[in-house]
């Protein structure tokens, strides 16, 4: 019953979820960097994600590679369709990637400020645009016959997608703040608790709003959800983790709260995956006939098999040493001469 195409739908999903959880918190920290008031706080931010952000970003690169390999037509159609938006994301990621090292090597405060801004801006832009892009995928894309993308940049800026963009951004900021409560000390830790609490309610309200919006105007997203038992389980876990966050924040249980917000992100994305399946890029022109699905947009069975073997060998190793690294750098940030 479960075919290779479905497995790859799940594996691409795993990569997206891994990326959203991992780079999610460091993009959030990047946005919160805007509110850091002195050099010590800024350096704590940078060092909190310093040893791991690069590994986190590889989830994006691998996700891109996996999408290319497993569903080349989606990779080609969506990325060329989102051309300008994607160029802006790349621009942000580049600015952000260099800001770590460049700030570390800058001496005077003016230069440091430039790289701080690059870090903030480079986190904000992808943090917002990922959600907008994801919103557009849920919303449906102007894909015509023969997988031809027919929209332009401004078509991407529809109200639903902008709303999802906002939900994503606030979610990343909250997730980042919760992460920082594990990494920062004293006054800065308190601040992070307060950022997490302050973003929580807007996030919940906007998320509910986006769900209602989808329910009303994009009914196809819920077509299969209600008949799928998995949907109820996921939603239950989602609700529990969302409800736990303020409780955990109040009790100052940083680790558990971080797990809750990670689980929450995973559940949200899994629920969207149920809505989309088996489509990867629904067409807003003709949902039934023009959408890119895991069947009409996939690579050959042979390639999917080869890639699966690769993933089965490679990913456990990756996850193993990723956990190891997080354990080595576990605990509060200590500003020393090795870091940023």
């Amino acid at each position: 019953m479960i075919d290779l195409n479905t497995i790859w739908f799940l594996l691409v999903g795993v990569l997206v979820i891994g990326y959203a959880i991992l780079d999610g918190f460091d993009l959030g920290v990047g946005v919160l960097h805007f509110f850091a008031k002195n050099d010590k706080e800024k350096r704590t931010n940078l060092n909190a994600i310093g040893p791991v952000w690069d590994g986190n970003e590889v989830w994006l690169l691998t996700g891109g590679g996996a999408l290319f390999a497993a569903f080349p037509a989606v990779y080609a159609t969506v990325f060329s369709g989102f051309y300008l938006a994607f160029i802006l994301v790349l621009f942000g990621l580049i600015a952000r990637a260099v800001s770590f090292e460049f700030r570390k090597h800058s001496d005077d405060d003016k230069m440091k400020k430039i790289w701080d801004s690059a870090f903030i801006f480079g986190s904000f832009l992808p943090g917002l645009l990922y959600g907008v892009a994801f919103g557009n995928v849920l919303h449906g894309l102007p894909i015509a016959d023969n997988m031809e993308y027919t929209g332009n940049f401004f078509a991407l800026l529809n109200p639903f997608s902008l709303l999802v963009g906002l939900v994503g951004l606030i979610m990343f900021v909250m997730h980042g703040a919760i992460y920082m409560t594990m990494k920062a000390d004293n006054e800065q830790r308190e601040k992070m608790f307060s950022y997490a609490s302050k973003t929580y309610y807007p996030f919940v309200v906007l998320y509910i709003l986006a769900t209602i919006y989808a329910f009303v105007s994009l009914p196809y997203l819920f077509e299969k959800s209600f008949s799928n038992p998995l949907f109820y389980i996921l939603t239950l876990v989602l609700v529990i983790s969302i409800v736990y966050i303020p409780i955990g924040l109040k009790a100052k249980k940083s680790g558990l709260t971080f797990i809750a917000s990670s689980v929450m992100i995973a559940m949200m994305l899994l629920n969207s995956a149920i809505s989309l399946f088996p489509r990867l890029a629904p067409s807003s022109i003709d949902l039934e006939n023009f959408s890119l699905t895991i069947y009409n947009a996939s690579s050959s069975q042979n390639t999917l098999m080869v890639m699966l073997i690769m993933a089965l060998i490679g990913m456990p190793i990756v996850i193993g040493y990723t956990i190891y690294i997080y354990r080595v750098f576990k605990g509060k940030v200590v500003l020393g001469h090795d870091g940023y």
């Binding site: 690169l61 990779y75 160029i87 990637a97 993308y149």
Partner: protein, 467 residues
């Protein structure tokens, strides 16, 4: 009217060319740092630990810019070359994903440990992290070269019309019109056959060795620079000696066997490219090696040439009398640009010879114990830092321009490969954006590298001592 294909090519060339400045340094430097870390760990000498930290810092900077500029590459096939992506995705995507899974995760994750974990893990684990960074970087290059080599000498696939399921021969492919062509793609039938296509291994060795040369000249040049400034002379002498010995070995290997074997492979699998880079415009028995010439294009001709007869035939086919096909044998519309391929290839070879000479002199001086006596030699080393990178760019230009007009050799033309839904204006916008970013990145990278280098390996930030 702007030509979207040309703009797409300009953007690709610019972003890859810029990115390709950094991996050669990272790969080469990673292995040299690994050698230094090994010495530091085994001999327990503080000097090597300091050198490891110093070059590690520089590595971090170069690597950071390499990552930043590399992100674009992973997605640019989709954004700008959608038709290409659809045509080759069944094969081309796998090595890119493999790079992520097997190499890039390894390199990035352990780099964090290498740069920030010196005091958090045991010396053995830290040493291991330096090995994993070097190994990951080198493996990364493998998958990228595999992908690129498949464009040069594709094997292990069939051509299939995805709408009808019909299998198509290479010959019919080239006669199809665009509408049908849209539904045809290359499908993988033999994974290892595609990975180890006729050019991938030799191009891999050739490219990675070029990276090792780049790393050697980078370290040697920086060491020489500090010695000239009379800064930490004893310390920098150690890294100078290591990089020169290492540099001579890899420079020799680059010419023989790697360069030579790569040349033979091109002669056999891509004869029109071979003819173009060698400047062989008419078929010849006992074809000469051209040492110097100025090529003119209409008609294709070499002016003021210096050549040695028979050698090219001998190098390519092991026989001084062997016949080598000239450009005249191939249809006009299928030959690569002649001037740029000839010039870039020949300059690359000249630089390769120069590297052997410079590193050879260095080893001789080490033996005579006169390495530090001549400021002139040290100055040459400093100014030679960018030369291997230029050689890398030239080699890459010869390889990729030599592949034109094909994006996949004898299967798909570059003109048919772009994203037709992206307008020329949009591409122009992104070219300008990337050009500005690249210029800034390069300027800042050089500025910061110079600052770190000027401080030398003994520098400790004052406030860091306090913290």
């Amino acid at each position: 009217m702007l030509d979207p294909v040309l703009l797409g090519r300009i953007q690709f060339a610019m972003t890859v060319g810029f990115h390709f400045l950094f991996p050669p340094i990272s790969i080469g430097l990673a292995w040299l740092i690994f050698i230094i870390e090994t010495l530091g760990w085994r001999r327990k000498e503080e000097a090597y630990v300091k050198l490891g930290k110093f070059f590690g810092k520089l590595f971090g900077l170069v690597f950071g810019v390499g990552v930043a500029t590399g992100i674009v590459m992973e997605f640019q096939f989709g954004t700008n070359w959608a038709e290409y992506s659809k045509f080759v995705g069944d094969i081309f995507g796998a090595p890119l994903a493999a790079e992520g899974i097997f190499a890039f995760f390894l390199e990035s994750t352990f780099l964090g440990l290498f740069l920030f974990g010196r005091n958090k893990v045991s010396k053995g684990v830290h040493w291991f992290s330096s090995l994993m960074v070097a190994f990951g970087a080198t493996l990364s290059a493998f998958w990228i070269i595999v992908a690129n080599s498949w464009q040069q000498t594709p094997t292990g696939f069939i051509l299939k019309n995805t709408k009808t399921g019909e299998i198509i021969s290479k010959e019919t492919l080239l006669t199809l019109d665009n509408l049908v062509l849209k539904n045809v793609r290359a499908e993988l039938v033999d994974f290892w056959g595609a990975v180890f296509n006729p050019s991938s291994l030799i191009r891999y060795f050739h490219t990675v060795d070029a990276a090792l040369i780049s790393g050697a000249f980078f370290m040697a040049g920086i060491s020489a620079y500090l010695i000239l400034k009379k800064k930490d002379v004893e310390l920098m002498k150690k890294s100078l000696v290591i990089s020169i010995i290492f540099g001579l070995i890899v420079s020799l290997l680059e010419v023989f066997p790697f360069g030579h074997e790569h040349g033979r492979q091109v002669a056999q699998t891509q004869p029109e490219k071979f003819a173009a880079i060698q400047g062989l415009y008419t078929t010849q028995d006992g074809a000469p090696v051209v040492l110097f010439a100025f090529p003119t294009t209409t008609p294709p001709e070499l002016k003021a040439k210096i050549e040695i007869p028979g050698i090219l035939s001998w190098l390519a086919f092991g026989d001084v009398n062997a016949t080598i096909k000239g450009i005249n044998e191939f249809p006009k519309e299928n030959i690569p640009p002649l001037f740029i391929t000839f010039v870039s290839y020949h300059n690359m070879v000249a630089l390769g010879m120069y590297f052997i000479l410079i590193m050879g002199i260095g080893v001789y001086k080490i033996k005579k114990k006169t390495l530090l006596d001549s400021p002139k030699y040290l100055k040459i080393l400093v100014w030679s830092i960018p030369l291997p990178l230029i050689a890398c760019q030239l080699g890459w230009i010869a390889a990729e321009v030599g592949r034109q007009p094909w994006i996949v050799w004898h299967l798909m033309k570059t003109n048919d490969a772009i994203s037709f839904n992206v307008s020329a204006g949009e591409v122009l916008f992104s070219i300008i954006l990337f050009a500005i970013i690249d210029a800034f990145l390069l300027a800042f990278l050089i500025y910061f590298l110079k600052k770190e280098i000027d401080r030398g390996p003994n520098y400790i930030k004052s406030k860091e001592v306090a913290a």
